[in-house]
Symmetry: C2
């Protein structure tokens, strides 16, 4: 079997959510956008709902509609991109709660779905999603009269606790929502860890639930085991892989394993990444191909049948460092060809 096995530990995942939830005075939401950070919307959402989550966040209305089918009626499904042109039917039929980002979205929502619940997203300095101060000023009384389900914003630098931007955004959020009685939310995982000042009425953990930084105490959720297709002897001077980028300096044993960048093993991590047996690290050699990776197993006493890329020896964040990115991208890149096992 040439298919690698991606094991997803739903117990660790729900435990991560529970511990982030326990840091706050009120029930935490759960962010399950991007197919639950690449780990499978159905399995993850079911597990979180069973663990007690009642409010979910997705990026787009299409994701919300898929989530509604999974969860059935009851749980709240908030949509970060708000109410875009063409979303009305989905929002109405799937009972989604759009986080309205602009006057345009507010008008669209009021005109097409009067009386249908909504939230408000405010921009507190990230300049990405949400109403600007002037827009909000113009709209505030009208919006509040309609009793928004949530008023939220998002932090740009929550992964860096010392960034002055955090306190600035907190202050702006307080000013923009002064006197508001609707529930408020500012923090995702990073903000949750910044402490109670940032918690307001709901936190929205995402990456921490999936075992990634900045939640340093997160339990790892994913394990990725890649089968070895074959092992060969390579003599000094011989090269391995595309472009001849690796040359053997001494007699070597090279394993070819069955996964590559088409499976989300980002090509840029190249030979900085390692694979693992139970007890040893073995380095990637040569370029990562679409479906194959060369690994130098010269030092191993036994021929491995598979090697581990993600697990207790190497986290998503370590792998991200090799690829010059963040753990989030390692997770959302996890490919469709893996055999997925939930435990």
């Amino acid at each position: 079997m040439a298919t690698a096995t991606l094991s997803i530990d739903l117990t660790a995942l729900t435990d991560n959510w529970r511990r982030l939830n326990a840091m706050c005075g009120a029930l935490a939401g759960a962010v399950v956008k991007a197919d639950a950070y690449g780990l499978g919307l159905k399995q993850v959402a079911d597990a979180l709902a069973t663990a007690g989550a009642r409010v979910f966040f997705v990026a787009a209305a299409e994701e919300g509609a898929a989530l509604r089918k999974i969860l059935g009626p009851g749980p709240v499904i908030n949509v970060f991109s708000g109410h875009m042109a063409g979303d009305t039917d989905l929002i109405g039929q799937a009972q989604l709660t759009p986080m309205l980002n602009s006057i345009d979205q507010m008008s669209r929502h009021m005109e097409t779905l009067p009386g249908h619940g909504f939230g408000i997203q405010l921009d507190t300095g990230m300049n990405r999603l949400g109403m600007e101060a002037a827009e909000w000023q113009a709209l505030r009384d009208l919006a509040l009269a309609q009793k928004p389900a949530l008023i939220m914003s998002h932090l740009a630098c929550a992964d860096e606790p010392d960034a002055p931007m955090n306190a600035r955004q907190l202050q702006t959020f307080r000013e923009m929502t002064a006197g508001v009685t609707a529930p408020r939310s500012l923090a995702a995982t990073g903000g949750t860890l910044l402490g109670p000042d940032y918690h307001f009425d709901m936190v929205r953990p995402g990456i921490g639930v999936y075992g990634g930084l900045p939640f340093v105490d997160a339990k790892p959720v994913v394990t990725l085991d890649v089968p070895v297709i074959q092992i060969r002897d390579v003599a000094p001077g011989e090269t391995v892989g595309y472009g001849n980028t690796w040359t053997a300096r001494s007699p070597s044993r090279i394993a070819t394993i069955s996964a590559g960048y088409a499976d989300g093993i980002i090509r840029a991590m190249g030979p900085r990444a390692a694979l693992y047996t139970e007890s040893s690290a073995v380095p990637v050699v040569g370029r990562i191909s679409m479906d194959l990776i060369g690994v130098d197993v010269t030092g191993l006493a036994e021929e491995p049948e598979s090697l581990q890329l993600l697990g207790r020896h190497q986290s998503v964040d370590t792998l991200a460092e090799f690829a010059g990115t963040i753990g989030y991208e390692i997770l959302t890149s996890l490919g469709a060809r893996y055999r997925r096992v939930y435990c």
Copy 2:
């Protein structure tokens, strides 16, 4: 609608295959591994079969089984990873042709599926897949007596026509297959373009079919249009996106578009990438987020409803350059959230 639209031009795709096919004396195969390089196995395989392709290549037996369901009986489906432990039932039931890579695989195949067709993959210097010269020497008479359907190898540097490795591998392949009457194959897209010496009895184009380099005359196959969620004014000194990595130097208009690295827009390309209107380029500003990207649209006369990331202004290879990778990875990373339109 917050979902971006990925348009896949099957006419261009089949035309690319036809033109690569026309370069050779015999019918070309078609490589459709990794979900047809991210473009959709079903649609692509159906189109190629209609265009006349009769021999398909996949990476793993699981992909082969999925392809057999699509194509039905008849077309040949070759599996690059060969006959691995656990593959026997799939190979037998789906009538796949494994490219055997080692003595181990040959033994497994002969023992578990006697009489079932197979090919042989030889290593001619890439040291990735295929039998080494010594293995082949030991096995050759036995293997040839069983009438392999194909004897193949793969070039490590075919994208660099001047690399001496190409001629070395060609020479090695000729030596290893001297006197063999079974059909032989050495070239993928790059090798096809190296000329008739490399064509043997079958070429196996992949990336060129999908519109990527090194097939410089390939017709572009993919277009990616990303909707704008909202547009805001940003004053000098304000920042955009995570980590405050971009600061406005003059009054600016920033569009937030609805796609991100969870959709395969590789985070590393960051602000080197541009988006396009019909006539203008507009730069990415700040970090690419999971589901969102900031774009500086200050220079546009009209507010765009969507912006194009891939298309006639920007190819998969240009985008790859921004991300420090190759067009192949841009294609195989294309995300699952896109609305896919085939034309």
